[in-house]
């Protein structure tokens, strides 16, 4: 079981609460987590990654285990604590006023 935490506006778009849980078979990577997330919540397609390039949107970051994983390769394994469900995979928006 993978735990995912989304920012406020994406939670509203997906009509979910503070934390989502996903069941994923195979390697646990940024790509497999985001694929599973978008498959279950198709309204999030394009809001985290570009539709075609699958590049992370510029003002979003991916954190887990107190580390910034935003620039890790999308197919690199996520930390074991994320894969085991001990720690969440966090999608977070850049802080800005206004």
């Amino acid at each position: 079981m993978i735990r995912v935490i989304l920012p406020f506006h994406l939670r509203n778009l997906a009509h979910v609460g503070n934390e989502i849980t996903l069941e994923i078979e195979g390697p646990i990577t940024q790509r497999s987590v985001l694929d599973a997330l978008e498959s279950r919540y198709p309204m999030l397609r394009g809001a985290i990654r570009d539709h075609d390039t699958l590049q992370r949107r510029a003002f979003l970051r991916f954190f887990a285990c107190e580390e910034d994983l935003s620039h890790e390769a999308p197919d690199a394994p996520l930390p074991e604590a994320v894969a085991s469900g001990k720690e969440p995979f966090i999608v977070i928006g850049a802080i800005a006023g206004g």
């Binding site: 506006h9 539709h51 949107r57």
Partner: protein, 393 residues
Amino acid sequence: MSGVRVLVGTRKGAFILSSDGKRQNWEVSGPHFAGWEMYHLKGSPADPNRIYASQTSGWFGQIIQRSDDGGKTWHQPGTPAGQPALPGPPKSWSNKFAYDSSAETGKPLTTHQWYDGTQHPWEFKRVWHLEPSLTDADTVYAGVEDAALFRSTDGGQNWKELPGLRGHGTGPNWQPGAGGMCLHTIILDPSNPKRIFIAISAAGAFRTDDGGETWKPINRGLRSQYIPNPTAEVGHCVHHIASNPKRPNVLFMQKHWDVMRSNDAGDNWTEVSGNLPTDFGFVIDVHAHEPETIYVVPIKSDSEHYVHDGKLRVFRSRSGGNDWEPLSKGLPQKDCYVNVLRDAMAVDTLDKCGVYFGTTGGQVYCSPDAGDSWNPIVRDLPAVLSIEVQTLA
């Protein structure tokens, strides 16, 4: 009993203001999509319960929302709220606006002029304006930044560019205005389903007479000092265009500076700024029943985006321009420094015609008597980006 529904897009959400035909007592619903920039909402003339909305964010990109019950509930087309998620490919791409670069429709993606005069690739940013078809609730046009026109024929689930506009040849001379290179005005001709007018800041006005396949610039008569050739075919910062549906060949334009008029579907324009205190502004609209009665809100200058003399005044011409009268009854006449953005004025079709506008200070005003007097419906919304009105039977 007849009534009106005012659709308000703001910097931090959407609001729906409802009243009966008297337009005195209002019910306020919202914020919908709280915290998001709502560039535009518009109802379908073919089905007033069908409303499209452009929800956008620098963080999360573009979202299209749709209501099928007059704004009570909303969903992203193709992904209804509460529907069990299915694995596999998505059923739709309601928020995907991909510029057409296919070989079939001919043109490789061009570049346009950047602020510094160099060429820059087209990059989708957001939907500025949604224009539902006059006859089919599932067909809707979207004007986007960077400027292009898209159309959906399945209720907003999928979008396809009409590439003849961006690719017709003058694209490399288009350039962004301060707000971005946006296609902000779409007028569907009720007398000719093949004819569409659009306007782009800063490229100018364009018209198709074949349903969007081919386009031509319609900017003859415009004069703009901020481009090297002030009378160039394109490059003009058109802020908004309006027409009366009963007389679609007569167009009125608020340009960056200058209020303009065309009697021949945009082929030629003449200035009708007349006695306005300043002819800079953003909005322009036409009375629903009197096609020579038009409204503007003069803004002091392009360096001072607020109303003239600290007074919020709508100016009305009953002669199609040149002779203007200030309308101020009920509007603040001192210490007022708001702006009224290009899509933030609308008219209803009741008798008397109601006129509505929203300000960057968060006020939405209604005149139930064609501009003679004004009342605030709400005073303290986020900055208003757009106003549309539905007249309900």
